[in-house]
């Protein structure tokens, strides 16, 4: 995980973009009790759908049960918080791990789209009688899943660049200090 990342700033930045406001955070906490028992189904359906995409197979083989546990814990945390720097750090770490296991970048956005689709159906079913509440829950869920994706993509991008730089340094034989001095010499 990045040692130089300013997670407070990243949290503010991600919240500003995704509209994860205190009101929406409160909404997620409020509906948590009602939705928690149903979230395992979302995880099951998510992995069932992934199973129909041939490109995901190498990343799932023999690991589905373990992955499901992590996924369910994460999806439950979307409704329990805290929606602070610790949440950002966790998602940043997830993005970093995705680079280390060479997960294609499009998997993150694709997976989040699948999860959102399932959660939307769930919310419509649960809050059909209260349109106003339903709208708030939907926008809140959209905000928190977008927040997660935003941070993961940020991390993914930075980890990818770091990994490529490591590879370049290894191949070229250049030391990190030399690379830094070279970059500094051309910084303006």
């Amino acid at each position: 995980m990045s040692e130089t990342q300013d997670f407070e700033a990243l949290t503010r930045y991600a919240k500003a973009f995704t509209g994860l406001t205190p009101e929406r955070e409160a909404c997620l906490l409020e509906v948590s009790e009602q939705l928690q028992p149903l979230l395992a189904t979302v995880t099951d359906k998510f992995y069932e759908q992934l199973g129909h995409i041939p490109e995901t197979a190498p990343f799932l083989e023999g690991r589905v049960d373990t992955l499901k546990k992590s996924h369910l814990a994460w999806i439950q945390s979307l409704f329990t918080g805290p929606f602070d720097i610790s949440c950002t750090e966790l998602m940043y770490k997830v993005g970093d791990i995705h680079v280390k296991v060479h997960l294609p970048v499009e998997f993150m956005a694709g997976a989040m789209s699948m999860i959102n689709n399932e959660l939307i159906l769930l919310v419509i079913e649960q809050f059909a009688d209260d349109q106003e509440k339903m709208a708030l829950v939907l926008t809140s869920i959209n905000s928190i899943t977008s927040f997660s994706l935003f941070v993961m993509q940020q991390s993914y991008q930075e980890s990818t660049v770091a990994e490529e730089l490591d590879k370049f340094l290894r191949i070229s034989g250049m030391s990190r200090v030399l690379f830094t001095n070279l970059a500094n010499a051309y910084s303006d």
Binding site: M174, A185, Y186
Partner: protein, 120 residues
């Protein structure tokens, strides 16, 4: 003191041939230790670029089975850049004119590199 002695080596090197236009001694990390560069040359860039090229040359020689690197020579439209190790921790770089007598320059650079290596 050592900086003065390094500068003396460079001035003597530049004076040994009218074909040598500039020279510099650089750490393998790309930081300039001494230089005799014409106006307009950025010491930091010359230093970092030279060390980077030598490092890449070192790696290329090794990867392509050419053994230990002796020097890196770049020929451009307006002249040559020659880089050679001066000991294990420094690099000697010279810029030479397009019609330079390379044989003499190789010799002068080798001597100067040995002097630098002994000093550092």
């Amino acid at each position: 003191m050592r900086a003065d002695m390094l500068s003396t080596i460079l001035n003597e090197l530049n004076g040994s041939s009218a074909d040598i236009e500039a020279s510099a001694i650089i750490s393998t990390d790309g930081l300039t230790m001494a230089s005799a560069l014409p106006e307009g040359f950025d010491e930091d860039r010359v230093g970092a670029m030279s060390a980077a090229m030598l490092s890449l040359g070192d790696r290329t020689a090794s990867e392509l089975g050419r053994g230990t690197l002796d020097q890196v020579l770049i020929k451009g439209e307006s002249g040559y850049v020659l880089m050679a190790y001066a000991g294990s921790e420094s690099v000697l770089t010279i810029l030479a004119k397009t019609n330079a007598k390379l044989g003499l320059i190789f010799l002068d650079v080798k001597r100067a590199a040995e002097q630098v290596a002994n000093l550092i």
